[in-house]
């Protein structure tokens, strides 16, 4: 069973793709979606997909940039780029940076499934990666002190929109999944929740200063205000505007 993630700024496109893919026949599983590149960066470590659909034309960070980053952090990820006909040049560039395939919009059901079929075959043929041995990693020692160091690092660098689990793991030379587990063990929170918490605390501060949402979003490292607003609502239970008004009053 391979996991599939869809990144597209248009809800209807994501829905259509979900409806088009023959999940069961291909042995695929939908693991999650993102409304934009920023959300994808923040959630990719949570969803851990094998296959990712990426729309080229997205605000804040386009599909090419996202693909580059993802491939750098997850070299085995199969990325399928979605593009309109006249963005063909973009698509060609994507193939150059290691994207598996591209599909032109409007999406044709047959093409989508054929492409996925081929990619599933490729994934099947690949030597299964040996799961990192936890014991050996234990010996490598990820002490609580190093976890503290990571926490400090997050508190300092939360405004970096590219920061996520893999990014941090690479920075501190950890295996991402090991870091994920150890982090939760040490702090009682997942990496992404800790990061979001840091960001939201700062956002609340800014809301108190009546800073407009889109500026706050940029300031805390979530330059996509839609995703920011989603995160904010999830964290505080209220919308940013409501909080601003409350704090102002």
């Amino acid at each position: 069973m391979y996991r599939v993630m869809i990144v597209d700024d248009e809800k209807s496109n994501r829905s259509l793709l979900k409806m088009t893919i023959e999940w069961e026949r291909l042995g695929l599983e939908f693991c999650g979606e993102a409304q934009g590149s920023i959300e994808a960066i923040n959630t990719v470590d949570v969803f851990k997909p094998h296959i990712m659909f990426v729309d080229i034309k997205m605000p804040y960070m386009d599909g090419v940039e996202l693909s580059e980053k993802i491939i750098k952090e997850h070299p085995d990820m199969k990325i399928i780029v979605l593009t309109a006909m006249f963005e063909f040049e973009y698509a060609r560039r994507c193939v150059g940076i290691g994207v598996s395939d591209y599909l032109t919009k409007p999406i044709v059901k047959e093409d989508v499934n054929k492409t996925l079929e081929r990619i599933v075959k490729e994934l099947d043929e690949r030597q299964p990666e040996p799961e990192p041995e936890d014991d050996t990693l234990d010996k490598l020692t990820a002490s609580s002190s190093s976890m503290n160091r990571i926490c400090e690092y997050i508190k300092k660098n939360y405004n970096n929109s590219e920061l996520n689990l893999t990014y941090a793991a690479n920075t501190f030379n950890f295996n991402p999944s090991y870091l994920s587990r150890r982090f939760k063990e040490e702090t009682g929170m997942s990496f992404i929740d800790f990061l979001t918490k840091c960001r939201m605390e700062r956002a609340l501060e800014l809301a108190g200063k009546q800073v407009q949402m889109y500026l706050t979003a940029k300031e805390v490292g979530i330059p996509d205000p839609n995703y920011f607003s989603k995160c904010f609502k999830k964290y505080t239970g209220k919308s940013y505007t409501e909080v601003t008004k409350e704090l102002h009053g």
Binding site: E10, K11, M19, M213, Y214, A217, P225, N226
Partner: protein, 604 residues
């Protein structure tokens, strides 16, 4: 003639020049030759005339020398005692003979010997002698009884020549000499006066011998000058081509170096020679001169042939040929020069220009010689022009390319394929989700949008239709986007049917949503307001998005990048539709709003 002119015009410049040079060369040579010949002819004629006159004068001089020689002889004879005695003897009736004939002859020989020339001298006297008593010249005379006139003479003869007294003492001869009163006359024709047994013809110099004391005539002196003496006077001047002759006033030739008949024919032809003291004419190739000898009435006639080529010196001919050669060489040199410096470059230039037709673009002229003259300027100009044309062609190509690109982008802009595909995907998605009403609404909105959007290709559209397009566009957009926003319309009453440029609102609305409202992430407002003011119409697109900095506004209005392309092309479309009488301004507060104001002329 016209054909000739056309033929000449059709020739290449090179051929023209060559032909002109050939013709002028021939004409020049002919003219030179003609000029030279006529000049030489005139000059030659003059030379010949002068030469003739010189000859005649020289002959006259020689003749005078001969005559004066003879004259001197005659004078010596006249004063010679023996001669006088001899003549006086007879006056005394020849009774006493004091001097013998031989003595006189000896005296004469003595005198003649001191002169050159083969003259025959006769001393004649007439005496009264008794009849029937013939007296021989060398015998003692007897006492006369009856007198008769007898002629006695002594002579120094060459050959046998016997004077005939009747003729000599006739009026024609003696009479003429007597009138001269001791002076000399020359008588050319003495055939009647002498019984000549020799073939030596002579002319006679004669004078009356007077007594020194009494001045009475004593006798007659005749000196016969052989014609050969006369011939000697002109011999040196005569030649085959130059006839010299003595003739008398009757036109009878006395002596000449040619056949007498030829000279006589000539004299016949020119009768006036013997009518005048001097005569000169040039007739055909002969120069004829005549001169009267005043003391005798002789004429010297000179007729020389003007031989053209014989008389032109070889050097002159060489010079002429040299000059002609020089002309030919110079003309060919000039022709070469013109060919090298004018016609060839012009030909090359025109050939290069013709190449442009084959090539489709001008070919630069390759010339290795640096020239600063007019031809050089021409070549330079042509090259400059060629490169300029090349540049222009290149520019046109680029412009064409850009225009095509712009058109392509414009068509895409119009068709909005991105929008269409995304909307179709959305509708497809809705259909799969089984929301039939919504699907119907969406399809209807899409249909209306594209029907109005394309609006039969016309350029202008009523405001209400433009608003409908925006409404449907926003409706379709809302189906797709998570961001919430409201759209409001504030149209001044009575303006709904006003015609405006088509599709000027949609790009601005799209811009406001994409770059204004969505990035803000909060529910926003899009407001379209249309109103008239001071004879202008304002169409405003307001959005409550993130707004723009002044630099961003400037970049959008004046920038050249892809991002502002759609915006700018719409502004240009508006300006071109209203022929420049339209303005688009942007008013914005960062983080609060952005308002685009389209200011166009208002005509009710």
């Amino acid at each position: 003639m016209k054909n000739k002119a056309r033929w000449f015009n059709n020739l290449s410049i090179k051929n023209k020049v060559q032909r002109i040079f050939a013709v002028s060369m021939i004409v020049m040579i002919l003219l030179c030759t003609l000029f030279f010949v006529s000049i030489t002819r005139i000059k030659l004629a003059r030379t010949f005339a002068d030469r003739n006159a010189d000859k005649v004068n020289a002959v006259q001089k020689s003749y005078s020398a001969v005559i004066s020689n003879v004259n001197n002889i005659s004078r010596l004879i006249m004063v010679n005692d023996s001669v006088l005695t001899y003549l006086r003897d007879d006056k005394q009736k020849a009774v006493v003979k004091k001097v013998s004939d031989d003595a006189v002859r000896a005296e004469l020989h003595r005198i003649l010997n001191s002169f050159s020339g083969r003259y025959t001298v006769f001393i004649l006297k007439q005496c009264e002698v008794p009849e029937n008593n013939p007296i021989r010249t060398d015998s003692e005379p007897e006492a006369p009884t009856k007198y008769e006139t007898r002629t006695y003479y002594v002579n120094t003869a060459i050959g046998i020549m016997k004077p005939l007294p009747d003729e000599i003492f006739s009026q024609r001869w003696y009479g003429r000499a007597e009138i001269k009163n001791g002076g000399a006359i020359v008588i050319p024709d003495n055939r009647n006066a002498f019984d000549n047994n020799t073939d030596i013809s002579t002319i006679s110099f004669t004078r009356v011998i007077n007594d020194i004391d009494t001045q009475k005539p004593l006798g007659l002196l005749v000196i016969n000058i052989p014609i050969s003496e006369l011939a000697e006077t002109y011999e040196n001047f005569a030649s085959d081509d130059c006839f010299l002759a003595y003739c008398d006033s009757e036109g009878t030739v006395i002596s000449s170096n040619a056949d007498n008949s030829v000279i006589e024919q000539l004299l016949d032809q020119y009768r006036s020679i013997t009518d005048r003291d001097s005569f000169h004419t040039i007739k055909g190739d002969r120069a004829i001169d005549g001169k009267r000898l005043t003391d005798t009435g002789f004429y010297i006639v000179c007729s020389s042939k003007i031989s053209f080529f014989d008389d032109i010196s070889r050097e002159l001919i060489v010079e002429i040929i040299g000059m002609l050669l020089l002309i030919v060489i110079m003309l060919s040199f000039i022709s070469k020069f013109i060919n090298k410096y004018i016609t060839s470059p012009v030909t090359k230039l025109s050939e290069t220009m013709l190449l442009a037709e084959e090539n489709g673009s001008p070919v630069p002229f390759q010339d290795h010689s640096e020239r600063n003259d007019e031809i050089g300027t021409l070549q330079q100009c042509y090259n400059d022009m060629a490169s300029r044309i090349d540049t222009l062609l290149e520019e046109i190509k680029i412009e064409e390319e850009q225009r095509r690109h712009a058109e392509r982008v414009a068509v895409q802009e119009q068709m909005k394929p991105h929008f269409l595909y995304n909307t179709l995907d959305t509708i497809g998605c809705m259909a799969l989700q089984n929301t039939r009403e919504e699907v119907y609404d969406a399809v209807e909105a899409l249909g209306v949008f594209y029907r109005k959007f394309l609006s039969k290709g016309s350029e202008a559209i009523p405001i209400k239709d433009e608003i409908t397009i925006i409404q449907k566009y926003i409706k379709l957009l809302k189906l797709r986007n998570d961001t919430e926003f409201d759209d409001e319309y504030d149209i001044e009453e009575g303006l709904e049917n006003m015609m405006i440029a088509k599709l000027i609102l949609q790009p601005f609305v799209e811009n406001s949503i994409q770059h204004g409202i969505i990035p803000k992430g909060e529910p926003g407002i899009i407001r379209i307001s249309i109103y008239s003011e001071n004879n202008r119409m304002h169409i405003k697109v307001y959005d409550s998005g993130i707004g723009m900095e002044q630099e961003q506004i400037d970049a959008l209005l004046n920038g050249n990048d892809e991002k502002s392309f759609g915006f700018k092309s719409t502004v240009n479309r508006i300006k071109s539709f209203y022929k420049g009488n339209a303005f688009v301004t942007i008013n914005s507060n960062v983080g609060e709003f952005c308002e685009i104001d389209i200011n166009i002329p208002y005509h009710r």
